[in-house]
């Protein structure tokens, strides 16, 4: 039985092996236009359907099985982090339960050399990428602004100022292209974030510079309390790409098969030099915005119940079982791996690592200013005096 960390890297390994094989670099059949309904492969019950998916090759069985495993582990991680926040072990946690198909699909569609530009909500995606969950949780734990090494993990710091990182993704992808490297950047944004000016500037820059970027809009229907109807009256956020000359699509964001199929193609399209792609994934934030939020103030439980019926995990599980790709034993094994993963997070988060006070002055600049050195000496003297008076 793999240990939790092996389980995590397993999912990443599988993703990297499969990213290229399942995709195609043909351009999009509808040109810039998204489908008039979200692309779907599996209905709510996991039955195979044909909804505007003819343009997308079905993901391989291996990729689908890997996605199932990653969704189960990802959700278990997310539930664990939510619990840690409720216990006060984390200052705050923005959960992504319900958005597993997007969180996992986005990462399984990437190659290891590609870069991700995630938001605060995409922790599950980073777990899928193989980042250490404890390093991911350093921000909400209050010990660092970014707990992981962005270069080593090829993952930009999780971004809070909405949509601002999208422009970075475009610049980065353009830079990689100029350097002759085949890197694709996966840029994450929420439905609310599409209202920010930076979202529009990023789309336009990406299109003008033909940057290899895939913009993934996780439309989870809310920006904190504000429903999507207050954000935009466009038929789909997917349509926002057309005006900028960007190939655009909308997909059922709770259908892992559809998300993978569309993103596999989008990544291949970007990598082949045909320019950026915008994908709107229709999904739902099952939990409150964060543990500090009270969602009952702005939405009723019937709506949440309705979305629970479209849960991405049982949906893919039903299909995989139907195809004989997974069985009870596999489902039990993956559930066990999820538990082990969560237990590992729990144990390691229980340890209070000391944060070096002097690190406050590190990395403000490469070389600290004279004023910073003065303040450093002041704090050092304060701490020494405190120590001496004990």
């Amino acid at each position: 039985m793999p240990t939790p960390l092996e389980a995590a890297s397993l999912t990443t390994d599988t993703s990297t092996a499969l990213a290229q094989t399942a995709s195609t670099d043909r351009s999009f059949a509808r040109g810039l236009m998204p489908a008039s309904m979200p692309v779907q492969f599996l209905d709510d019950l996991g039955h195979r359907v044909q909804v505007f998916n003819d343009d997308y090759p079905e993901p391989s069985s291996q990729q689908l099985v890997a996605a199932y495993r990653a969704m189960v582990i990802g959700r278990r991680f997310d539930i664990q982090a939510t619990a840690l926040a409720k216990q006060g072990r984390l200052a705050v946690y923005p959960p992504s339960r319900g958005q597993e198909a997007c969180q996992i699909g986005s990462m399984l569609a990437l190659s290891p050399d590609d870069w991700a530009f995630p938001t605060y909500r995409d922790s599950m995606a980073l777990v899928t990428r193989g980042l250490d969950p404890v390093e991911i949780l350093a921000v909400p734990h209050g010990t660092a602004h970014c707990g992981y090494d962005p270069r080593a993990s090829r993952t930009a710091p999780q971004c809070t100022p909405l949509a601002t990182q999208l422009v970075h993704a475009v610049g980065f992808a353009s830079g990689e292209k100029r350097k002759g490297r085949p890197t694709v950047a996966m840029a994450f944004v929420g439905d609310g974030g599409t209202s920010e000016g930076d979202f529009h500037e990023a789309l336009n820059f990406a299109a003008v510079f033909k940057a290899p970027v895939v913009f993934l809009v996780q439309n989870n229907k809310y920006a904190i309390s504000v429903p999507i109807s207050r954000q935009s009256v466009a038929p789909s956020l997917g349509y926002k790409g057309i005006g900028y000359g960007i190939a655009s699509e909308q997909v059922d964001g709770n259908d892992a098969m559809a998300v993978l199929a569309v993103l596999n193609k989008a990544v291949a399209h970007a990598r082949s030099g045909q320019g950026p792609v915008l994908v709107e994934a229709h999904t739902y934030r099952l939990d409150a915005h964060t543990n500090a939020d009270d969602a009952t103030r702005y939405r009723d439980s019937a709506e949440v119940e309705d979305w629970l019926r479209r849960d991405p995990i049982p949906r893919l599980e039903a299909w995989l079982r139907h195809k004989g790709l997974i069985d009870d034993a596999f489902v039990a094994l993956v559930a066990h791996q999820g538990e082990a993963f969560a237990a590992d997070v729990r144990e390691r988060m229980a340890i209070n690592l000391a944060v070096d006070p002097m690190s406050l002055f590190d990395n403000v600049f490469a070389t600290p200013t004279p004023q910073l050195l003065e303040q450093r000496a002041m704090l050092e003297a304060e701490l020494e005096a405190e120590e001496a008076s004990r």
């Binding site: 200052a91 921000v139 602004h145 809070t160 100022p161 209202s195 920010e196 309390s225 002055f361």
Partner: protein, 359 residues
Amino acid sequence: MTTAARAEDICASPPPQLVTMSGAINRALRDAMTADPDVVVFGEDVGTLGGVFRVTDGISRDFGQDRCFDTPLAEAGIVGFAVGMAMAGFRPVIEMQFDAFAYPAFEQIASHVAKMRNRTAGRINLPIVIRIPFAGGIGGVEHHCDSSEAYYAHTPGLKVVTPATVEDSYSLLREAINDPDPVVFMEPKRLYWSKGSIESVLAATKFASFGRAAVRREGTDVTLVAYGPSVEVALQAALAAEESGWSVEVVDLRTLVPLDDETMVASVRKTGRCVVVQEAQGFAGVGAEIAARVQERAFHSLHAPVLRVAGLDIPYPPPKLEHLHLPDVERVLDAIARLQWDDDTDTRFLPSDSKGGAT
């Protein structure tokens, strides 16, 4: 009415009802909206949710979606929209959800909100209030704890207000909404849950006027000048300093623009010593302006240089380290102790080879 009856009345009257600062601001918004149909409130999550700090709780329900509403999520849009609304005759009171999330709106604020009156030779004024929960001390993660007041105070054309008490939060906000010019109203978020009474200001016919500092505590030996979240720190330090035999006066500036030179200078003339306390990073901050003005105006009364106690010159740190960044009572007391009480020279800034005995 006889004097006796009156005393009885006072004894029988219930203790003043306490409200939180967020409650007081909520009340100020409601009273302003009731008084003037042109007052409108908008921003992110201020409608149904009532704001992430519940400052606008129930306003949308009670005044209708036309008067208090959620906008698309775009700060530059919110401020620019407010500029247009104000040009059409409204008095927008808008919310930036957190300090650092106002930065996308900086162009609108610095280039338009601040300058419209000047650019149009006074033909267009913008009675806009931009409410910004600011500063730290609540264990918030990055971008949620910035002290951004200096950016605004440095921009001519903006009034900048920072209430430190529940009563002021009501009174100054009413005054801000009445003001013909744009006001950046900075709410110290760690004080949202602090409690006080607003009964006396509700009964008053005039609100706190801008440019009038308040002496929160009288003293004779040293003046602490503070504003917003730092006033409480200064008051605590004043109390602690009493034990060391220092009588400390605390001046709460209340409005950074316009600034009340008179009150702070009068205080320093009386005490002869001054320490400025601000939570914001010290470099090029509001405290520097205060220190400069005090020494320009009260030089001959000063027994020691004006000192500053401020946040470190670093990006706001992660929650586990914020207590080391924030100015606290100890640092204020240290600064007071350095004010040349024994007539010895303060050697701190002398080159090390000229410090007696220093190696």
